[in-house]
Assembly symmetry: C2
Homo-oligomer: 302 residues x 2
């Protein structure tokens, strides 16, 4: 029989990765109320916003206000994404616990996303990491398109390992490897992790799957077989993927938590409170969330 971890850590990225891909702008008060509901649900990590210029992501223009208004709970790391030094400084001003930086394993995707090559991105991130460390903040690094790029197609596992190593060398505390467009299949994840095991410290790895083709939970299963125990997820499956609009995007936290609990794997998260939080943000967005759990909830309410 297969062996499974006893406990998994889920990092909630809905307030950032979820909302930035929704077209509706959520009012500040609702964001705060929602994040407070998330805080009550038992997470140890919530990425609450992004300090990126509002020109790029207007949905997250109130990061500073969100940071000031949410009730921070002991034991929860409240993190925010920062694209550069300016973003970092704004984040530090709000006393975040952790910042996250990001880049792509695909040169073309990186250029389309931030107008820089991978090589040009390293020094920018290095400066942010150094500054963050001086301020006593831990840093998370997102590497996107690790299983496939909308422009380049397949991405070499060696390329992902090289980018990841460079980021870890800067002092980044945890890497989140992202299947940004939801193309990874379980056999590919198994093979990639098998190769990365020789290069990368797995205790510093998190996996970030998208469910575009319905394979996200399967990819989590395979990752757990490699002793990966940290996964990013977005409540209700909030947030699409910009390259496959409307297709279900992020792995839904509620689906992941349900599967893990059914398997007897602890997450520390309360499913009932999670449902409350999902119902809340669903009402604010005025649309049905795509997670299977919410589909069941919504049908029960009809």
């Amino acid at each position: 029989m297969l062996e499974w971890p006893e406990k998994v850590t889920i990092k909630e990225v809905g307030p950032r990765d979820g909302l930035q891909n929704e077209t509706v702008e959520v009012p500040l008060q609702d964001k705060v109320a929602w994040i407070n509901l998330l805080s009550d649900a038992g997470y140890s990590y919530i990425e609450f916003s992004s300090f990126v210029h509002p020109k790029w992501i207007p949905q997250l223009k109130d990061a500073k206000e969100v940071a000031a208004m949410i009730s921070r709970k002991k034991g929860i790391t409240y993190a925010a994404l920062v694209p550069n030094r300016k973003g970092l400084e704004a984040a530090i001003d709000t006393d975040v616990d952790e910042v996250s930086v990001f880049m792509s394993a695909s040169d073309t995707h990186n250029k389309k996303n931030i107008n820089k090559s991978i090589e040009e991105t390293y020094p920018v991130l290095k400066e942010v990491v150094q500054e963050a460390k001086l301020e006593g903040k831990s840093v998370r690094g997102y590497v996107s398109t690790v299983f496939g790029c909308p422009y380049e197609g397949a991405i070499d596992t060696d390329q992902v390992a090289r980018v990841s190593e460079r980021l870890l060398d800067m002092g980044i505390d945890e890497l989140s490897l992202g299947d940004t467009i939801g193309v990874a299949n379980p056999r590919q994840v198994d093979q990639a992790l098998h190769e990365w095991k020789q290069w990368l410290p797995f205790d510093k790895l998190a996996m970030h799957f998208h469910n575009t083709r319905g394979m996200a939970l399967s990819n989590v299963l395979v990752s757990m077989q490699h002793n990966i125990t940290t996964f990013d997820a977005s409540l209700g499956g909030l947030g699409g993927c910009p390259y496959a609009k409307g297709a279900s995007g992020n792995l839904a936290t509620d689906d992941l938590v349900h599967m893990l609990h059914q398997m007897g794997i602890e997450t520390g998260i309360d499913e009932e409170k999670l449902k409350e939080a999902a119902v809340y943000i669903q009402r604010v967005l005025n649309k049905s969330l795509p997670s299977h759990q919410m589909q069941v909830v919504n049908k029960e309410r009809v």
Copy 2:
């Protein structure tokens, strides 16, 4: 690294298990055209209808006409469900290749479904199997609620093995073990298969998963680890589950085929032709099909 089979057989149950759970009655001509599209897609097995009294399942009242009008392709087994001897005779009159019988691993579910206890059901099925064999037909047996029952909750793996053995002893050629309400989790499937391996011939087993909680593909993955290589699926995820109305029901053939092909596992099925068939029945039903593949197709068309 995990090992995977080279080839998997997918048995299409959409025209029976899918349509019987849809509220819209599909016109005969459309059913025939749709099944012909399925025949062109590369399946080796299509369950095209059910010879059950139209009082119970009016959606399938035209089984006889469907059988007469579809273009049967060489190499494809055209099967139909039969509840009893009367249904069997009607099926044989239409020269089906195979018949399927069904019962539940849960006594309560069986009673609610066919008004008989499990013990009372055996002789009925035995008669059908004997008669079918005399007519030279192979017989498939569905065992439902094997991972959980809406009335009894958990179902003992021993109970499933006992029911399965009884059916195999009757001469049934293949057993399809069904997670009727979509509650199975991958760890449970792994444990159950580990136990059933001691009792049941795995070359005669197919698994029939529902995707109510999003775990169907994960359960297929785990089953493949036990060398199960036959799976039932319904195109587009057609057909809900009567106990969780509207929640996605059957495992979607298109999602399963996509995952398997991405993993380099052969199915013999052409994804483009599958998409054509899914688009066809979606237009007839006038609703979006829930499979991930169809969600992506539908978004591309907007």
